[in-house]
Symmetry: C2
Subunit: 260 residues, 2 copies
DNA sequence: CGCCACTTTGAATTAGCTCAAATTCCGTGG
DNA sequence: CCACGGAATTTGAGCTAATTCAAAGTGGCG
């Protein structure tokens, strides 16, 4: 199909990754990520002593079109970033958790290009961009951290695009849950149970499908015992085994009739 | 639907943008962008005197999994970035033109996460990341340019996601052409005629649809006189009026029966 | 000239959407 | 504490946009 010649080295690397993830080895990876998040936050407090701002569900930290001069670092809670098109279309383009930065999109244009909306109680650190740049000159490590954060965001956005473009609806929902759980695990939070802070409509918007399709996909995942709804309400989702979500995604991709 | 309360300021800003683009005012914006690209490239030569590398269609400048230590700046030609999933899925996630940087995705992981494939003869400047950082300390303006480039990439990736999630197939193809034409215009290149350096399959992969759907969409655009196929071959597409593409997109969105 | 990859177009199929109705959840006020 | 009402969710049924499968058609290039 796409004929990209690839080095053997790369292929081998990816095969290894796939294998590692099929075993339980990504636990180690999660722990490393968790330590990295903590270290980065520590560096930021030490070097910048940023002002702390508490947010509640629904709060908008910045909105599309606002003049940019500040970056934010999320230290607890979770955020959605909502893109706004000139014609009024709205699109959830990203979800953010502890340790993530908010506002990178504003640097180039001098104005933010999305809304940052808190989905939960939490807090963010307020970091003026010019202050940050100043600090970077005194402490190069800060610059490394900043660039790594931007780079990770670029990589993550592309993974989102890939999910939307290459996965059928059911798999997309499974992948969404897997990513959410992994995000929690990589921050040292419990990931066997997640509380979706979004309605089906929001999830659907983020994943490029309707709310009904999201609901059906979740029902199917529950029927297949890949997830479990907590006793009360359907916003709490138990994920007994994250690996099962990956397997489910793969099963959606391979046209193997599972004969049942 | 998504209930994001928005400031009046932001709404007004966006309305103004929409209006400006409906008139011919984005010509000015293109010129400004074009000057910015040229200025940035000049700064890079002056400060870094980077090694120049000529590439030809099909050349892979870096591949997913390769160790990261170098960024590239494209000065002519065009590139596609192809993401590779562990399970083998491939996805064109980004297109790059003169002035764009390649390789940001590698900073965080220490390895690139996509293939950078030349789609045309062109050349790139080779910039070692550590060298660049060093230069940034001597010349803060370089850092500004670097961050702006990363920020723009984040914004662009989100726009892609929004297109895929919110537009029907025909509109997505129109938007794709519009963006390509705009990218050329913003680099001072002629944009009334573009030579697609991608097969229908690649375009479809990038836009999340099949090659047949791409072909049908292009045929429809030609039937509606929004585009024109150059006499020979169907890779050269004349765009008599870029605005017509935007209008086409909007028409796809509004369920207005165009009565014909 | 003739092959091969790419493209177009048609026809049948289907994944996901729309519309509709029933159900559950949860905050509010009696 | 319970009743009530609105919002969110689930589920079904029919429909449609886009896919799949298939068959020509076209162009570039050795």
């Amino acid at each position: 199909m796409l004929e990209t010649i690839r080095t053997d080295a790369a292929r081998t690397q990816f095969a290894a990754d796939a294998l590692a993830s099929l075993r339980g080895e990504d636990r180690l990876e999660d722990d490393r990520a968790s330590r990295r998040v903590a270290d980065n936050l520590r560096l930021l407090t030490e070097r910048l002593a940023p002002r702390r701002r508490v947010v509640h569900a629904g709060d908008i930290v910045f909105a599309a079109g606002d003049r940019f001069d500040t970056l934010y670092v999320l230290t607890s809670g979770c955020f959605k970033l909502v893109n706004l098109a000139a014609d009024g279309r709205e699109q959830v383009v990203s979800l953010k958790f502890r340790g993530d930065w908010l506002g990178f999109d504003g640097i180039a244009r001098g104005a933010y290009s999305c809304d940052a909306v808190a989905m939960d109680t939490g807090d963010v650190w307020v970091i003026r961009y010019d202050t940050l740049l100043g600090a970077c000159f005194r402490c190069p490590e800060l610059l490394t951290v900043l660039h790594a954060a931007m780079s990770r965001e670029i990589g993550r956005d592309r993974d989102s695009l890939m999910s939307v473009c290459t996965l059928p609806a059911d798999a997309r929902v499974a992948e969404f849950l897997r990513h959410w759980a992994q995000s929690l695990a990589q921050r040292g939070l419990r990931s066997d149970q997640i509380t979706l802070r979004m309605t089906r409509a929001e999830i659907g918007n983020y994943l490029g499908m309707t709310l009904e399709t999201v609901s059906r996909a979740l029902s199917k995942l529950a029927r297949d015992k890949v997830i479990d709804f907590a006793e009360k309400g359907r916003r709490d989702i138990r994920i007994p085994n994250v690996q099962a979500l990956s397997t489910f995604v793969q099963r959606c991709l391979s046209p193997v009739p599972t004969l049942q």
